[in-house]
Symmetry: D2
Subunit: 347 residues, 4 copies
């Protein structure tokens, strides 16, 4: 059977490169056009010496017409750039998985509030499916446009949504503290991402008003059936990949650890990528490196009546490129796990 | 003027070695006997090649009589070992700064609950002064035995106590998430501290029932004038040194960021080691490496009504050996900052 | 077609775990018995939380009879233990890829000299094929026992052998300096592998008499047609995976960079895993992480008349488990690249 | 006694900041004017949150007249910028320690060859003293202008010069492989210094024609009494600070390890900062972090007749700011160790 022809827009960022890495081993997808912005004209290998399968290949400047014939295009552009490009890709008849935040929110006003700019394709808002696969598998399968979730929201929501849906925790008491490796901040050099600065350093950043709060609150509100507001405090860890979200919330009266754990087990018992850890184990980011896995668990602190929910994943894997391919598999009728079976790289 | 003769028990652990490093540059202290446990007989340099000032010197096996004549002894032993040794040091007439958890709690029952063993010197419980210097400077100055606080409690309490004392936050809503470099777990090799395991890895551990909760709750209860229970969730960061405590709590009605900040500024305006960061800055662990500094700040999240309090320090510095020397300076009538003026090592 | 049944002895070390990770995705191999030493009885997931495909599975204590029926067994035991086990595996009719140093040398006296012990299966010495696949592909295909090369020798020899064979460099002038991530030293905790010690630290070790010198000199002597002695100086880098070997040697009269480069290009133009980098690029260990790739290049320093040869690989990949599977593929008549096509994990 | 007034030009780079850190604790120097280039106008604390002693202070734009009255000025500018500024500082009557490469070479032609530009103050070439303190202590004491050595040359030369001077090794056979933490490459963000790129990565760079070769060859030629050419191959290590130089050279006939070691011991027995390690120990970069120490040792490989010389230091300490202060102490008649007594920060 012929492979599906796949395009990648924004292929030279970390997310784009991770897509290329995974697609090189995908049994039913074939990489066609790959474009980049300021890196157009450079060879893939010069930026990503790991991507030997693409040796000799060059990032092209973006030209929508080059993507004609693609069954599906991944858009790995920064927030604000994607919305200018996605409509032209859809117009070609391609399905699109957009990895930016541009199509995750329901309306233009929310977008302006959280992203600080005017949306240029508001007609598409609310038409894309929020691609947290485990929650929206059916809709994703039928979607033309999927808005791939952010890395922090994927980790946070996979841990919290089953507990909120089941009414086991008080949604108004949710505090999420999360920590990420630096690849989540992208490939562009910056003082705060300089090796000598980050190495041996740990700090919080963007502790109020992080863009990802918007999609987390939207999903948690949906799960709770009422408006939910959360505190979300991200941190930067001296490591390249990985996210751990550690969330606390007040348990509802009478709830204990077994009920919390049962809710997670039921939600994920058939899931190929979300793994509820054995009793006693806690998630470690490194166990998920390079994979599409998310490791979750929950504990109760009986002294304070709080639940502690932990979820780890690779911000470039299940938090971005991996989940994007998982969604694309569904959109194209390919087995959901195709190209995503690699175990995490540890040690 | 003659220098004060100082002893170090448990000198071969990370805390002991940091004491030796700082004491080598102390203008009014002179290092006398230094003992170790299983490392007795080894040269200082073989374990700590940085400690060239001690070249040729060997760790001695512990013998209390060797510490006769010491004005002050630092005990850098593990929890459970220190209580067996401190009485004999006090009996020699030496003042003692104990860096373990053995004398931090007020009674033997609390000790059994949190440390899981019977206290062997219960008569000293409640007699030592809790050496969080900024809170108990007066008592420390007059103390014979100081129980040096844990690293996590120092960071957590320096951030929270002024806000709790001022009634600005609801003590019942406090959730502390903290992260530490691995030196806090000591020098003994262990699978969870193996380089190949920790590098590129981030995880939580001991998320309910960490020993340090006991002293944090005791101090916060004192500050609140009522019993306080907190959630405390520690994490391990792939770095050698540094702690960041990120605490959240509900603000009391009418409280905003300026009141929170003002409380910190007032508490620390004259303090040589606790530095309230300029508006806009967030603490970074690396800025405190090797120093006795603690960097704190506070923010308010008006969307959720929560305060976010952040404090960073070096777990071996202000979190252990640095604060121990700060206390010893007071106990011996030496200027409080003597030997502790080095700025943090960055980058 | 039925998959080949594969056994793994010594499955709980880093090399064993990397074998399991790669075998989980191998299209024509199926993992059968997996044994461990002191970790027998533990679940795979408890030691390797990344190996979700093996969830529920337990490391067995070694029992040779359990490996009956295996087409091939990988032995991932330490030096000195493997020679006691391999004969019993061969006796079962299984082919064996041994990843220790026990069968790499030609005679028992060399073994005693370099490994410091008596060989217990000297009848097998010289019968195993040295599994540097690119040099011995034909012999490996027909082998029953393959002695998989060491990580340092693989990197060093892939760079140097083509130049020595071609007579382009003076073999008597070879100096190899190499650096490795810590996983090469294994999973057992040790002071020198403690995170707080290794992090931010760089040092040499074993700078004369490293065991790997023996196999490097044997191969280089073969390539030169005369006895060759080299200096080999390994270093430890604060990273988990990766080896870079940087070798210098005097160029023979009239030789320049183009001839050196041409020799490498010719040697590896059809090789799937050895990649001669484009002009101007230098190998980076991270580009090979998790893959079976080896990246090589050569430069000439006309001021001194020396060639500089650089080769990078993943010590657990092409330096151990990856090459072991590459050899096993050949031994079983499977396509050489099966199960080994993943690109390196970067960033 | 009044402290000496000290100026710092180029104070916002890593070298400048390390000077400020060390000067804050110097008993006989007082920091006066501090200028920066593009960072002029920023607060010291905003760039270096560790430098609390400078809280409230701002980097000034460079204006030579501001340095009038300074007893000595440290110039921490990049190569090529320093030569435009140093003459004006000397004209004010200040002594100058220049940390760039601009005054290390003897003539303008060498400068053009190695630095690729025309020297703008050629009249000063050969007038500055090369500030490798242990070799030129007398000249430094009388100097008005000291050219502070590069970080790699300091490590390399401290190890090799005593052996070359004594005629124990063949200077024509010297191959230096060295490795550095990333702070040696400065504070400016760049793709090759991005955390996600460097973390877990090890690579060589600039392997022929590194600028530092020129000063190493000049010094080694002086020590040998004949022109010496060396191979020098630098590497980048995923750590912030530290350099290790591992050099090999053929031993002269009859020379063994004891003679090599003796030469180092004699050269450094009275030196406060150069420490010949005990037999059996090898230098580790981390042991020197934040200090002015250099740790050296030598081994012989009798199989190949080569000496292996190893030297470790902190590239910002003895490799830059520390040695600059050591030189300044001599130039101002202050005890040589003043302000430089801190032991290395480990772990």
């Amino acid at each position: 059977m012929a492979k599906h022809l796949i395009g990648v827009v924004g292929g030279s960022g970390y997310t784009g490169a991770e897509l290329l890495r995974l697609l090189a081993g995908h049994p039913e997808m074939e990489v066609g056009p790959v474009s980049a912005g300021s890196n157009a004209g450079k060879t893939v290998e010069s930026l990503y010496p790991n991507l030997i399968p693409y040796a000799g290949r060059t990032f092209a400047a973006f030209d929508a017409s080059a993507f004609a014939g693609c069954a599906l295009v991944f858009a790995g552009l920064p927030h604000g750039e994607s919305m200018a490009v996605v409509p032209s890709l859809l117009a070609l008849g391609a399905k699109v998985v957009d990895l930016s935040g541009d199509f995750r929110l329901a309306d233009a006003e929310s977008y302006r509030t959280w992203y600080g700019k005017q949306h240029v394709a508001p007609e598409l808002l609310g038409k894309g499916v929020y691609g947290l696969t485990e929650l929206y598998r059916g809709k994703v399968s039928e979607a033309t446009l999927v808005a791939n979730p952010g890395c922090y929201p994927t980790a946070t929501l996979l841990g919290l949504v089953p507990l909120v849906r089941s009414g086991l925790i008080d949604p108004g008491s949710i505090v999420v503290q999360a920590a990420s490796g630096t690849s989540g901040a992208g490939r562009a050099p910056a003082p705060g991402l300089h090796f000598a600065h980050v190495d041996g350093n740990y700090s919080a950043y963007g502790i109020t008003g992080h863009k990802h709060v918007s999609e987390m609150e939207a999903e948690l509100s949906g799960a709770a059936g009422a408006e939910v507001r959360i505190s979300f405090i991200p941190h930067l860890v001296p490591m390249a990949r990985g996210i751990l979200a550690t969330s606390t919330a007040q348990m509802m009266p009478g709830v204990g650890e077994s009920a919390l754990r049962e809710a997670l087990m039921q939600a994920y018992e058939s899931e190929p990528f979300v793994h509820v850890l054995p009793v006693g184990a806690l998630p470690q980011t490194k166990a998920t490196n390079g994979s599409n896995a998310c490791h979750v668990t929950v504990r109760s602190d009986s002294r304070t009546g709080r639940a502690i929910v932990l979820a780890a994943l690779d911000n470039l894997g299940k938090g971005a490129a991996g989940q994007a391919i998982q969604n694309a598999n569904l959109m194209l009728g390919i087995p959901e796990t195709a190209g995503l079976t690699a175990a995490g790289l540890y040690p």
